[in-house]
């Protein structure tokens, strides 16, 4: 209650309509529901029931891939001397290993055996772990470098001139050629593979992001901020990056699954991870020669790779949709 209210005199108390007091300060305020960006994002995101299902599925795969290998250790060459165990279909494998419990529980053979008597099921679990690790690490490195550099690249004109020359040269090197030559040069261990995928992988993201930043840099409100003397890091952090959250998530949605596909692709070409690391790409490329003869070796890894990539892609797309403020109405 304040002074203004007391000044108003009520002339006729019997009147049906009572004039309410005029609050000068309150009337200056704009009444709107409290808006929290991330809350709205998740409200929209979880409105779609399919997203909950996809997350549950992804968590399941994630847990199996990371906890599974503890209980189901995969040794690629464990049955290398057991010639009769090669290329066994699931039913034959179950029958074959029934009286050999020392070689593992029967669930191990539920998907049959591969070309040197290796368990397909355990192989897939360990390979899924490699694939998920690889894609997460590569995406994280490329995204962080790409977005940070892209933001500066888009904002600073001097930096832009230098980076454009570098980009125009490196973008001309066919990506596949570069990766294959690098793997050929530095070897095919897990970390050298990560290096090969990230050494120029960020460049495309940075370039894409640069263009997005440039568009927003020249918007009126950014111009106003700059006129008022806001320091550049603050303009980038407060004016530009929040606007680009949905762009970042969209990039993430295509980046994450792409490394899984790429690993498969490179393994098939003989430039994949080294033989000691279980990977989906290696399983597929080993099985592809006899994929009509021994389909149980070929299709399970393909389906797992497809499932992981589709889930990641769909989740990313839906999150990107939800993180666009225009859908928050």
């Amino acid at each position: 209650m304040n002074e203004n209210e007391k000044d108003v005199k009520i002339e006729n108390e019997d009147d049906l309509f009572v004039p309410i007091s005029q609050d000068m300060i309150q009337s200056e305020k704009i009444i709107a529901p409290r808006y929290s960006y991330w809350k709205s994002v998740f409200r929209i995101f979880f409105k779609k029931k399919i997203n909950i299902f996809l997350i549950a599925l992804f968590v399941l795969i994630f847990l199996i891939a990371f906890i599974g290998p503890i209980f189901a250790p995969y040794v690629y060459e464990e049955n290398v001397n057991l010639l009769a165990a090669q290329h066994l279909s699931p039913s034959k494998a179950l029958a074959f290993f029934k009286d050999k419990p020392e070689l593992g529980p029967s669930i191990k053979w539920i998907l049959g055996t591969g070309h040197i008597g290796n368990s397909i099921f355990y192989g897939i679990i360990s390979s899924a772990r490699t694939s998920l690790l690889l894609s997460t690490i590569c995406a994280a490195i490329n995204m962080v470098i790409g977005i940070l550099l892209g933001a500066v690249w888009g904002y600073s004109k001097k930096f832009d001139a230098v980076m454009l020359v570098i980009y125009n040269i490196i973008a001309n090197v066919p990506y596949l050629l570069l990766i294959m030559v690098l793997v050929y040069v530095i070897g095919s261990g897990f970390w050298s593979f990560v290096f090969a995928l990230t050494v120029t992988g960020w460049l495309g993201i940075a370039y894409f992001f640069r263009t997005q930043v440039m568009i927003i840099r020249d918007r009126e409100y950014s111009l106003a901020s700059r006129c008022l003397g806001t320091p550049i890091p603050r303009v980038i952090g407060k004016n530009i990056l929040p606007f680009l959250t949905s762009v970042i998530v969209t990039i993430l949605a295509t980046e994450l699954p792409s490394y899984i596909s790429f690993e498969v692709y490179l393994s098939y070409l003989g430039a994949g991870l080294s033989a000691s690391i279980p990977s989906i790409g290696r399983m597929i490329s080993q099985a592809q020669t006899g994929f009509t003869q021994y389909p149980w070796e070929f299709w399970p890894p393909v389906l797992v790779a497809a499932a992981i990539t589709i889930i990641l892609y769909l989740l990313g797309q839906n999150l990107a949709d939800a993180s666009d403020p225009r859908t928050h109405m």
């Binding site: 040269i169 294959m180 030559v181 596909s261 597929i284 009509t292 070929f298 497809a306």
Partner: protein, 632 residues
């Protein structure tokens, strides 16, 4: 605009050079060069010095270094001497390197020669003294470290172990004062090896006493070569071990910039009438001639090829031999073949044709008359004598199949055209039916193509194609008789389908996206308010504007089909260019790797420039040069 294009082309050439240099650096400097012998049978069959000599010759072929050997040098010196092979002096010179010299067996001398070469013997004393000082200091440190280690060891496990350690400690402690004394007095004369090295270095003088050996060493040291003497390895009875005879080489590493320069210099060659080096050939010309096996031809004399421009019944019907592209020579994958030939030579089985020979006779043969090259002495079998009138007799055959690049291009171009013909209308349809059944169905397909590894769906197409449609799976087994002729036509079906379906997905995605973006524009609302029909709005307004974004990628898609499709070609066994790079990497064929880089990079640069030009042509609002506001 012209200035812009000129700048852009210059920059493109610059970046091409940088890219090739990066790849050359990667391939030639970072990879252990010994890997090229991993799959080499000849290397496995050679031993000792012969193996090293073979390695040098391979390194030279692969472009790592330039080498010369003593034998070639001797032949050059004695080339004026009649029957020099039996000349006594020649024999003596030749055997000078095969005598038993063992100076390289000493570490000190090989280190010295590595550093200073054979000619700076005055530096030997000081070098050897420093070398031994370093070696002995190192040894002293080592001994001290080891003594500490042994003294700190807790109770050894067994008696044996204890005794062994005790002995070692005693030996070390005995060695230490001797070394220390030598180092303190700066006098190593009590070291027998040091004295022996001084004896051995005299052998180098004996080795260089032979005039020819000395000449060889002096000549190539002056040119910056490193002299590599492969000492003879002998049995105790004085005979050489297999591959162990002494040899003398001069080697020089190639610097990456020179390698690049040599490569660029030889990249394009133009045939001239002075190409043939034959004094007997006096009549040199290039002229039009009537070609009995074609229409007319530009024929050269003195050029390498006879037919410089000719017509025949093979696509693209007009062929030229004026300009040649030399991408290098393959070493391991296609031993000794030129990479340009690997890409462009037709494959398949030989094809017979009726041709009109030079004397007017009609001959049924598989010889390609247009491929003839000059040979110094025309050696042709009797039955072909009447076919060639001149020295242009070195011929190739006609084949019924397509070349690698044609295979790739045929598949690529057909699938690109199909993809654009189907993908764009489907994208437009999805946009028009937004949020309806067709749109959802299309989205499922797009997500499938985007997310599933390409390898997986190519195999899926293969399974469906072979089981449901009974199409041949592997290209090699695809020969069928259609309309009475044997043809591999059916073999192209699955590769083309496997290339088309994914590109349709990509095009659908982008076309739909751009259409939807345009659908809410003001000009669309205006057109609607003017009473235009929906079909007209979509056809003439929205899709035209949405096409702006699509147009940019068209040149890339067309030129990209020249680079082949790696996975598709591999899965179906289609002999194309797509697998060239991966095969080269697996076989360590450096020349093909560099050639592929040049080829791919050039294509990607050209398609970017063409894409921009097409974009500027299609949309007049876009100006390529950065000067704003039009006018100039």
């Amino acid at each position: 605009m012209k200035v812009y294009m000129l700048k852009r082309i210059l920059f493109s050439i610059f970046s091409l050079a940088v890219v090739v240099m990066i790849v050359m650096l990667l391939v030639y400097s970072l990879i252990d060069r010994k890997v090229i012998f991993q799959t080499d049978d000849i290397w496995n069959k050679k031993f000792l010095n012969d193996r090293t000599a073979y390695e040098y010759s391979q390194y030279e072929k692969f472009g790592y270094m330039t080498t010369t050997n003593y034998g070639a040098y001797l032949k050059d010196i004695y080339k004026d001497v009649e029957d020099y092979e039996n000349d006594a002096r020649y024999k003596e010179d030749k055997n000078a390197v095969k005598k038993k010299f063992t100076f390289l067996e000493s570490d000190g001398i090989s280190a010295f020669i590595d550093k200073y070469g054979y000619l700076q013997m005055d530096k030997f004393d000081s070098f050897l003294f420093n070398y031994y000082t370093e070696k002995k200091t190192k040894r002293v440190n080592e001994i001290n470290k080891r003594i500490k280690e042994i003294e700190n060891t807790k109770e050894p496990a067994s008696e044996d172990e204890k005794r062994r350690l005790g002995n070692e400690l005693a030996a070390l402690k005995a060695e230490l004062p001797v070394l220390q004394k030598q180092l303190d007095e700066r006098n190593y004369d009590s070291d027998s090896q040091y004295v022996k090295d001084h004896e051995l270095i005299k052998e180098v003088d004996v080795f260089l006493e032979n005039e020819s050996v000395r000449g060889f060493v002096e000549k190539y040291t002056a040119q910056g070569y490193k002299i590599s003497y492969l000492e003879p390895v002998k049995y105790s009875n004085g005979k050489d071990k297999p591959g162990g005879s002494g040899q003398l080489y001069a080697i020089k590493e190639r610097f990456v910039l020179w390698r690049l320069w040599d490569y660029v210099k030889g990249l394009i060659t133009v045939e001239t009438t002075n190409d043939v080096n034959d004094p007997n050939l006096t009549d040199r010309y290039i002229r039009f001639e009537n070609d009995p096996n074609g229409w007319f031809a530009v024929v050269g004399s003195g050029t390498q090829h006879k037919y410089l421009l000719y017509f025949d019944d093979r696509f693209p019907f007009i062929h030229q031999n004026f300009i040649h592209l030399n991408l290098g020579v393959s070493h391991t994958r296609y031993r000794g073949e030129e990479i340009t030939n690997v890409i462009t030579t037709p494959q398949g089985s030989m094809k017979n044709k009726n041709i009109i020979a030079a004397n007017g006779e009609i001959i049924n043969t598989s010889i390609n008359v247009h491929s003839v090259k000059y040979s110094q002495t025309a050696e042709v079998g009797e039955e072909l004598k009447n076919m060639f009138a001149d020295n242009y007799t070195s011929y190739q055959y006609n084949f019924d199949g397509l070349s690698r690049i044609e295979n790739s291009f045929v598949c690529g171009i057909i699938s690109t055209i199909l993809a654009y013909l189907l993908g764009l209308p489907l994208g437009i349809l999805m946009a028009r039916q937004k949020e309806k059944f067709i749109d959802h169905l299309g989205n499922v397909y797009i997500i499938f193509i985007m997310a599933v590894p390409s390898l997986a769906y190519i195999f899926m197409f293969a399974v469906i194609g072979t089981t449901v449609f009974k199409l041949p799976y592997s290209f090699a087994n695809s020969t069928r008789t259609i309309f009475g002729t044997q043809t591999k036509l059916l073999g192209y079906f699955l590769p083309i389908i496997s290339l088309t379906l994914p590109s349709i997905g990509g095009l659908m995605k982008w076309m739909r996206r751009y259409m939807i973006d345009q659908m809410n524009s003001d000009y669309v609302k205006f057109a609607r308010s003017q009473g235009l029909s929906e079909g007209e709005i979509y056809r003439t307004h929205i899709s035209r504007n949405a096409m702006i974004y699509i147009v940019h990628g068209i040149p890339g898609a067309i030129l990209g089909s020249l680079t082949g499709a790696i996975i598709t070609e591999r899965v179906y066994g289609l002999p194309g260019v797509g697998n060239l790079l991966t095969e080269a990497i697996n076989r360590h064929d450096n020349a093909i790797i560099v050639a592929c880089t040049v080829f791919y990079t050039t294509l990607s640069i050209i398609s970017l420039i063409l894409g921009d030009l097409l974009l500027a042509k299609y949309d007049p609002r876009i100006s390529l040069s950065s000067s704003k506001g039009g006018g100039r």
